[in-house]
Subunit: 285 residues, 4 copies
Amino acid sequence: MNDKVEELWCVRMTCDDQTGVVAEFTSALARDGWNILDAQQHTDQSSGRFFMRLEVHHASTGERALEETLLPAARRVNAEVEWFAQSRKPRVAILASKTTHCVVDLLERWRTGELPCEVVCIVANHEHIGVHASWYDVPFHHVPFHPSNSEAFAAIEGMLSQHRVDLTVLARFMQIMPAELVAQHEDRMLNIHHSFLPSFAGAKPYQQAHQKGVKLVGATCHYVTAELDQGPILEQEVVRVSHRDGPEELRRKGRVCEREALARGVKLHLEGRVFVHGQKTVVFP
Amino acid sequence: MNDKVEELWCVRMTCDDQTGVVAEFTSALARDGWNILDAQQHTDQSSGRFFMRLEVHHASTGERALEETLLPAARRVNAEVEWFAQSRKPRVAILASKTTHCVVDLLERWRTGELPCEVVCIVANHEHIGVHASWYDVPFHHVPFHPSNSEAFAAIEGMLSQHRVDLTVLARFMQIMPAELVAQHEDRMLNIHHSFLPSFAGAKPYQQAHQKGVKLVGATCHYVTAELDQGPILEQEVVRVSHRDGPEELRRKGRVCEREALARGVKLHLEGRVFVHGQKTVVFP
Amino acid sequence: MNDKVEELWCVRMTCDDQTGVVAEFTSALARDGWNILDAQQHTDQSSGRFFMRLEVHHASTGERALEETLLPAARRVNAEVEWFAQSRKPRVAILASKTTHCVVDLLERWRTGELPCEVVCIVANHEHIGVHASWYDVPFHHVPFHPSNSEAFAAIEGMLSQHRVDLTVLARFMQIMPAELVAQHEDRMLNIHHSFLPSFAGAKPYQQAHQKGVKLVGATCHYVTAELDQGPILEQEVVRVSHRDGPEELRRKGRVCEREALARGVKLHLEGRVFVHGQKTVVFP
Amino acid sequence: MNDKVEELWCVRMTCDDQTGVVAEFTSALARDGWNILDAQQHTDQSSGRFFMRLEVHHASTGERALEETLLPAARRVNAEVEWFAQSRKPRVAILASKTTHCVVDLLERWRTGELPCEVVCIVANHEHIGVHASWYDVPFHHVPFHPSNSEAFAAIEGMLSQHRVDLTVLARFMQIMPAELVAQHEDRMLNIHHSFLPSFAGAKPYQQAHQKGVKLVGATCHYVTAELDQGPILEQEVVRVSHRDGPEELRRKGRVCEREALARGVKLHLEGRVFVHGQKTVVFP
């Protein structure tokens, strides 16, 4: 229990839409002396599902009191509710392969305080990523994928478990995750795909984009699901290209989109701003 | 009083920040059977001012009931509150000079239902705008600025008053508004300036931009205040340019920004999404 | 023959890449007294094809002289060459269905001199577009698609031929063009598709985009080929959207991309800046 | 002299506009067996100055031959001409203060081959930048600005000279350069300013932007001149912000623009794509 005074709390809630939901929570909070600093809500019209994110603060009490305020309110409207202190640091693992631009960007943003998390390990199937891990003083694990994929994934599973990882970030990790591992990390595993999905899913998207002759290339940050490159989209970014740009130039220009969409996606997730709702996401800015 | 059932209502509220404000309003609404469809709020940290916009709906009652719900709540937290039916149509006047791109864009968006308003008149100091007014079946008033500016502004003032105008849109109207007229229409008069303010305020911004050699040009939609091009900014847009673009090309590329920033600004204002707060705005998307 | 002095000429040339091509043309032009005001070139590395666009001017002569300069040079390097006076006005037909935003935007840009062409007719399968045609004083033809598509397309074919159309612009024309008609207008028929292709080809792209939950929607201007929505892409545009945007909001936000991508595409084509090269385009800005 | 066969060469040329300039150079190149792979040119209408950048290649010869081809042509049209092998590595110094995002981005892009240069030293008035220098194995010099600015600048001048620096990059270096040092490095010293210039020149631009309430913030890469933040602009970038963003959030969002505009500017300069022309730049993409 975190009963630190001066803590800010993030409250996330979802339930079926009904009259009085907002009042139920905000009244309970007000009655018990909690100040609401920020509130965002959304009702999905097609499913009738309601989502709310609050930032609250109390002058003299902490988590135990918050729980006592929220749980009865949640019961009354049959809501799922969760909360966390804004000072908490979720434990993040980064998985990488060869390219370093996303890894370095995440590490640098983390180091400068932009990403509210603890990077607890970097796992890669290429050894040279170890240098960057050592720069930022993060434990590094090299997991070779030859001769055996299944052994490699067993090792990764072990490490995510051993490091008690809250969020796994595939920072241009070029191996297809096995379904069981994905299932274990449902809504807690983010990938960056190097195209503006749903265009150019699968292998070599910049090659595909070059062949098609598109005038913008992009990148997509999405939750990992069993189906490759089909998980709920969290963030996307694009950049203008031209006939002058060969596949190598597309790759270079796209890198900027990749690291940007991934970093923004990771930050949104860490701050509790994303609700996965079926195949889609609700993202409170 | 609009007591139409099935009406959606927009509620706008502002007060000093304090614990329990959101609860005060949402509880009163819930108690009286109002469903909250959308809620956005913001606290300005430096001034301690709180802003909230709600969209609410009641299955069986209307404005009189809403007023009875809101006013006591507002009194308790010393808030300013206002509300309007989303089906209302504010009365809009468009003021123009020579160029037509903003006028045509506003009229076309209005005709296709994108702008929730009534365009009640177009006033211009060039006669040829009358053609567009007739196309869209809007009363047109030609007000020549020669020989006398003061007579022209008196005529404009008369027309805005006679047409009971709620919002005046300066759609590239190239005359400087007198202070008294501005004061009468405080927070209800929008201008589009053809630069990314605060850069290039005043005359000939594209010429200024060309001389400076900027790599992006833009446009700014702002409320009109007594000081030229200095009012609270509502919306801005930019577009990339290059050394190939002379002043005429900047003007052409900028036109797209102008009409876009102006149309978005007008729509945001009409939907009650903008709060003017000192020299700045709070804009709920 | 246009032998007007003070005319500017656009020269377009393509051939297999080889040493001396640029020199061949620029020397011939210099020798004969032509000044080069602008030059852009591109070599497609995979095909070895070379493309060049020049803007040239002569103080005292015109088209006949230009031809005499260019043809021998073209013969020597086995190039295809064409040229046109920048004052020429290609004859453009606009095909439309129900929505008017692209039609109005094209007409307004044309009226204000932004599009160097003559709009010679508007053809639509909905009668109400006729109003806009009359505003801009353009002949209008209503072609009903019931009961018979083939009769309708025969009528359209007749009209494009009768009006001696150089470029046909499908401004949200919602009928699939028959292959023969497409073949007759190869590289001279532009379409705007209301998605960021190759995502969401075919029917109801905004509905598809909403279901997928993408965070950006877009529009694509492409040449029409026999395969639906698969022709060479000329221009694309995107805009940011969020979970708040239902299909209707995506449609509204997307409209701005559509008219922008289409108008830019039409302008690029009219100014001779586009070379179709297989499934792709070379676009000189 | 670099007489390596298979080298690509970049040729930069500027002269007063006149008939036959392009032919003069391209003919000489063709006659001597040089193939032109890329060509871009621009005539500044107001000054009548002509600029051209070529990429050329010869199957069997090198720099001495290129010089013999270019110099006579340049003499005939009174042009300034320069050339460099695309494999050359200009010597770059990075100057920094406290913030690391631009430094890390430049170093990482350099390490991955995106920036064609040699980073020969990093100079900073804060010691902690030394860590990053050591990561990327670049000599680091700590130059304290207390008690004496003039000694510090004397030290910097010495280092730039000792390292024979071709380009100096101020990567958020927060000290005002003395005029003599600027003069020594005319057109060879790049700065990133953390605003969309000419808005918010000088100190604390994010604070200024927050006070003004702009809806976009940006960054500007420009050549350093004697007048603070007024040098020729090379590249700019902006990002959308809202009333939710306090000065700290503007700073965070703006950082992405800063590193992007700076990296693009440095790359454009290194590739010889920029001509400074009075207060402005010509940039060939």
